[in-house]
Symmetry: C2
């Protein structure tokens, strides 16, 4: 493990690293569909939705002339396509809004809240997520995530892994990149953070994608910390 | 009282409204000066420092071509002038940094933390301060302020009372201006918030400026809520 005594803030990937989006959305939508009398293959819809995530952000990245589009709006556009594709009938505007805001109602992994609470005692802790500010704020209240502040791709008008996000977080915290540690369950996110001078911590979330998971079962880079869960990161950082 | 049922988030002025900057800085600097063997008229320095606050932000406002300058840097520039003016000798770079960061170590008014904690149970709560993000984050950890997120003039590159700050806060929260309530001890701040469509709540902080206080002893506008303290706002909002 590198010398981490300079680290003052920990910033976290959120979807998959802090919260279990797949189980949360499937459970929420199955329950809701039953109440609303809407039948659909919810697991397939949720997997399809996440499948469109990278491409939707790439589209923003490739078309700066159209301006930045926040994640709630990307989620809504992708949902509309999926509703057509899955031929789900009878959804009102309020229903589409409810489903889109499912991403605001995600549950944490079992170790997340306790681990964050320990880390908060010694470090500034914040999301550094592609979720927009309102999404991350609402999620924190729903899931009890004890963030010190909310850092979002929206503040930099750039999605991860663009350098503006990692460097923007350090800038707003008035810290050098090496005083900030990125925590993620995704090796790609950590590789980008490391390239920009941040410290890195990996936790595996091998059930994030359910049966569809293909990558990120283990650390594949030279990360500063590799831990089983957030409690393990707290142990290694002396919290 | 107006119909406030649409309000979803409360944003707070911080210096003077949430924290007692004057007593905090004077106490901190007197203690520190004694340890460091530095003699100065600390109350006069603190009052002089705050006296330069408005002009320093006006200078940023009048010179957009120079780019936005965050409050920590304005505080530092003003401090350097005061150190000359008061002929304080023997300050190192570390001393100037310590004094500047005095603004990160401010104590809350006695009702602030309990009132914010009540309000947080029903509303999103955030600073909407001219302090920069790192200053407000460090202050929250120091003073135990339970913010849901940190909204700062720095995010909008405009100081209050510029409209970009009030409207920018509503935008990041994905709320309409009338769904956001500005809380302040300063009638001028509330007037600007109201002009931009926000709801308003006033609390008097009659000792903010010590013996120098000249204004804001009472509400002078048509505010949605006027309360004795944050507990009074929580009472009126049913928290």
């Amino acid at each position: 493990m590198s010398d981490l005594s300079a680290v003052k803030a920990l910033v976290f990937d959120v979807f998959g690293t802090v919260v279990d989006w797949r189980t949360s959305l499937i459970t929420d939508f199955m329950w809701w569909g039953k109440q609303r009398g809407i039948t659909a293959d919810w697991p397939a819809l949720v997997d399809g939705w996440r499948g469109m995530y990278m491409a939707s952000m790439d589209d923003v990245r490739k078309h700066p002339e159209r301006g930045y589009v926040m994640l709630d709006d990307l989620h809504r556009r992708s949902l509309e396509k999926l509703v057509d594709q899955f031929a789900i009938k009878g959804l009102t505007e309020a229903d589409l809004d409810y489903l889109t805001k499912g991403w605001h109602r995600l549950h944490p992994w079992p170790d997340s809240v306790a681990g964050l609470t320990r880390l908060k005692s010694k470090f500034v802790i914040s999301p550094l997520s592609n979720g927009n500010v309102a999404l991350l704020t609402n999620m924190a209240k729903f899931a009890g995530l004890p963030w010190d502040l909310i850092l979002s791709a929206e503040l930099f008008e750039h999605y991860k892994p663009d350098p503006e996000t990692y460097l923007g977080a350090a800038r707003l915290l008035c810290l050098e990149p090496e005083e900030v540690m990125m925590v993620a369950a995704h090796n790609g996110d950590l590789a980008a953070a490391q390239k920009n001078g941040l410290r890195t911590a990996f936790v595996a979330r091998p059930t994030e994608y359910g049966p569809l998971q293909k990558v990120d079962f283990e650390a594949t880079g030279n990360w500063d910390i590799v831990a089983r869960d957030f409690g393990g990161i707290a142990d290694k950082l002396g919290c």
